[in-house]
Amino acid sequence: MSKIKLILADDHSLIRAGFRTLLGKNEAFEIVGEATDGQDLVKMAHNIEHDVILTDITMPGQGGLDAMEQLKKENPYFKFIVLTMHEEREYVLRAIKIGAQGYLLKNIENAELAKAIKTVYDGGKYFSPFVVNLLAENYGKPEALETSEVTPREKEVLQFVAKGFSTKQIADELGISIRTVESHRINMLKKLRVSNSAELIKKAIKLNLID
């Protein structure tokens, strides 16, 4: 059985050395290339025959995600595992959006790393449990509240929003500050579980809050 060929992209030589040591113990893997930045990685991915690319995000010059995006555009069959210290949702979502098959944190256990590489190599996807938690968080929002919770003042603001008035115009019209208008607007967005004014108006019409 041939070894799974890996390209490792990280700007820190110590990290590369660490992973080399870690992966070198496993006979299933072979590191065929080590890139120090995004540009390096793009070059290497084209020139060196490989199976899976392990890349960090933050690197000098072109970052890992940018390099991945470029490579994915050229060849969607490149397989990527993001190996990073970033655990914020934005990085995860962007990586997934670009087409990363895996997303791991650098403090990953040896065994899990091996499992992830193998899964991706076999055409699957592997995400750490924290990534799954992140993705699951956005689901299961409760439905809109009772319309009676919308106050008369908020309804008043709503009428003007529906007419296309700007916040400044509404503030002038009602003789209140921009702050107050925005406070009302946000409260309504939250009460009706919508994320912008357009959705707010749609929902308000549906709930007969405005004509």
Binding site: D11, H12, L14, I15, A17, G18, F19, T21, L22, K25, T58, M85, H86, E87, E88, R89, E90, Y91, R94, K106, N107, E109, N110, S166, T167, I178, R179, E182, S183, R185, I186, L189, K190, S195, N196, S197
Partner: protein, 572 residues
């Protein structure tokens, strides 16, 4: 008077000179014999003449003036007269003579006689007799009265050269005229051939206004008209008084009118003078200036009013500019309003300078903060890339290390946990110093991460809502300060608020960003906090100000705190 005498004389000469009457000169011889031959016709003619002319008596007398025939019996005076004048009668050569007898008749009247000599043909040189006519004196009195309308004290009277009166005195009507001796200046003048009028003492020694002249006649008489000086000058005095009164009234009227006119003229001028004086001292009058009418003064007043208004506006403008209100505008008084133009250019210069200063201060502060943020970024990179990576390497190496027995295995796991915790701590620190997601993904990601971090390390329940109603990206220059403000706010909540729930709402519109951070904590007294210089409120405010934003914090004791932030966005 003279007219009367002339007429009488003429008539008498005519009457008695007629042939038929004078034919009787033949009778003169008889007269000498004291016999008169008068037929009835002649007698009645004499009678007619006497009554026609109202003579006292007509007497035919001999050459010694002895009455031969008379109309009435009043002939006694003749003797007295004859005694005095007999000589002068003998050589009488005239046809007609007056005689002032200077005596009284028995009525007490002066006797005035007209004597017409009768000449015989035999002796034409000497009259053989006379026709003596006694004049009725009351006629003169009447003439005098007719001519005299001289008030209550005026009279005209006749005085003969013997200085005795011939007419009845008004003042002494019962006294015979001849008894009244008129020894006044008027009489002495008149018989010295002087005529005229004077103020002098009359025969009563009363001060009179006297006019006198000698009668232009054979008799040595003078006519004197006099009126008491007092009465004569009375109308003059009255007139004088009138004139004085009128003059005084006129002067008063003129004074009053002049006063008002001069007031009307000088008051506005003085008023204007005061205004201009005060203007010259740099004081702009407060009260409004009124101008009435349309005359020159009103025009000057109007001009001054415009000057004052202009100065007021200029001053007000300068004042406002001085107070730093550079939005104050000013319409120059004219195209050549040097002061106004200078002020405008001054305002523009000051405004420019002020804006430059504000900009410089802001740039400086903003450069300082930017430097700080850059420093943080660099520091985070060091932390993250240096220590963080090193720790990761340590962890990798540790992980790769074989641990044979169970005890070693546990020890290795402990160290691994320690390293993992350290990595987590470094992550937390570096996030607080400068979150990479803020740099890479913007404000929403940064704030979400911040909230996640706070949730993770505190027991706060944070509800984060970010509404972005525009496609345009938010610049890093805005994101970082806003992030810091929220960071500071959350810090305060964690440290002081004792809250359980926190709400962070952000509304990003195209032209501004609105942010509300609300907690249900214990609240605080803003004044106290500011006095203690605490909670990083100053730095929050400072950052908001650098973004031209408004930070509004409202805290109710026991109910929590609401921090609102409003930032205008100038996206390019």
């Amino acid at each position: 008077m003279e007219n009367y005498f002339y007429r009488t004389q003429k008539n008498l000469i005519f009457l008695f000179g007629r042939t038929d009457f004078l034919e009787k000169t033949d009778a003169i011889a008889d007269i000498e014999k004291h016999k008169v031959y008068l037929d009835d016709h002649q007698k009645s003619e004499l009678n007619n003449i006497g009554s026609l002319y109202d003579f006292d008596n007509i007497i035919i007398a001999d050459n010694h003036l002895n009455s031969i025939y008379s109309l009435n019996t009043d002939t006694a005076f003749l003797k007295e007269f004859t005694l005095a004048r007999a000589d002068s009668l003998k050589a009488l050569n005239k046809d007609f003579v007056y005689f002032d007898a200077s005596i009284y008749d028995h009525y007490g009247q002066p006797v005035l006689l007209y004597i017409i000599p009768l000449h015989s043909k035999k002796d034409p040189l000497h009259p053989g007799g006379f026709i003596v006519i006694k004049e009725h004196f009351s006629k003169f009195q009447k003439i005098l009265y007719e001519r005299t309308g001289m008030g209550t004290t005026g009279e005209s009277y006749l005085v003969a050269s013997d200085k005795r009166m011939r007419s009845v005195s008004r003042f002494f009507p019962d006294s015979p005229p001849l008894k009244i001796n008129v020894n006044s200046e008027a009489v002495s003048n008149v018989f010295k051939e002087k005529e005229g009028g004077h103020v002098l003492q009359d025969y009563r020694n009363v001060k009179v206004l006297s006019a006198y002249r000698k009668l232009n006649f054979d008799l040595p008489w003078a006519i004197i008209s006099e009126i008491d000086y007092h009465e004569a000058v009375k109308p003059i005095n009255q007139l004088k008084n009138y004139i004085i009164v009128i003059t005084v009234v006129l002067i008063l009227v003129i004074l009053i009118v002049t006063y008002f006119i001069s007031n009307a003229i000088s008051n506005p001028i003085l008023y204007l003078k005061d205004i201009i004086m005060s203007l010259s001292k740099g004081v702009v009058p407060e009260s409004p200036i009124k101008s009435k009418g349309n005359d020159e003064i009103a025009q000057i007043t109007e001009a001054t009013r415009q000057l004052v208004e202009g100065t007021k506006r200029t001053t007000e403008f300068a004042h406002q500019t001085g107070a730093g209100n550079f939005d104050a505008t000013f319409t120059t008084l004219s195209d050549e309003d040097t002061l106004g133009l200078a002020l405008l250019s001054m305002r523009d210069k000051i405004k420019m300078l002020q804006e430059r200063e504000v900009r410089l201060v802001r740039e400086k502060a903003s450069a300082l903060l930017e430097g700080q943020e850059n420093e943080r970024k660099r520091f985070v990179r060091e932390l993250h890339d240096g220590i963080g990576q090193l720790l990761t390497v340590v962890k990798l190496r540790l992980d790769a290390m074989d641990a044979k027995d169970k005890e070693k295995q546990e020890e290795k796991q402990e160290v691994l946990d320690l390293v993992n915790n350290t990595i987590g701590e470094v992550r937390r620190i570096s996030y607080n110093v400068m979150p990479s997601v803020l740099v890479d993904f913007g404000l929403e990601a940064g704030l979400r991460g911040l909230c996640d971090n706070v949730k993770k390390y505190s027991r706060l329940n944070i509800e984060f809502t970010y509404i972005k109603e525009t496609d345009k990206p938010l610049s890093f220059e805005v994101s970082v300060p806003v992030f810091r403000i929220v960071q500071e706010g959350l810090n305060n909540i964690i440290k002081h608020a004792k809250a359980t729930d926190v709400y962070l709402d952000v509304m990003e519109q195209e032209e501004y960003l609105y942010l509300k951070l609300k907690d249900n904590g214990i609240g605080f007294n803003k004044a106290d906090v500011i006095k203690r210089g605490g909670f990083g409120l100053t730095s929050m405010n400072e950052r908001a100000k650098l973004l031209n934003g408004e930070l509004h914090i409202e805290s109710i004791h026991g109910e929590g705190t609401v921090t609102e932030l409003e930032i205008p966005l100038n996206r390019e």
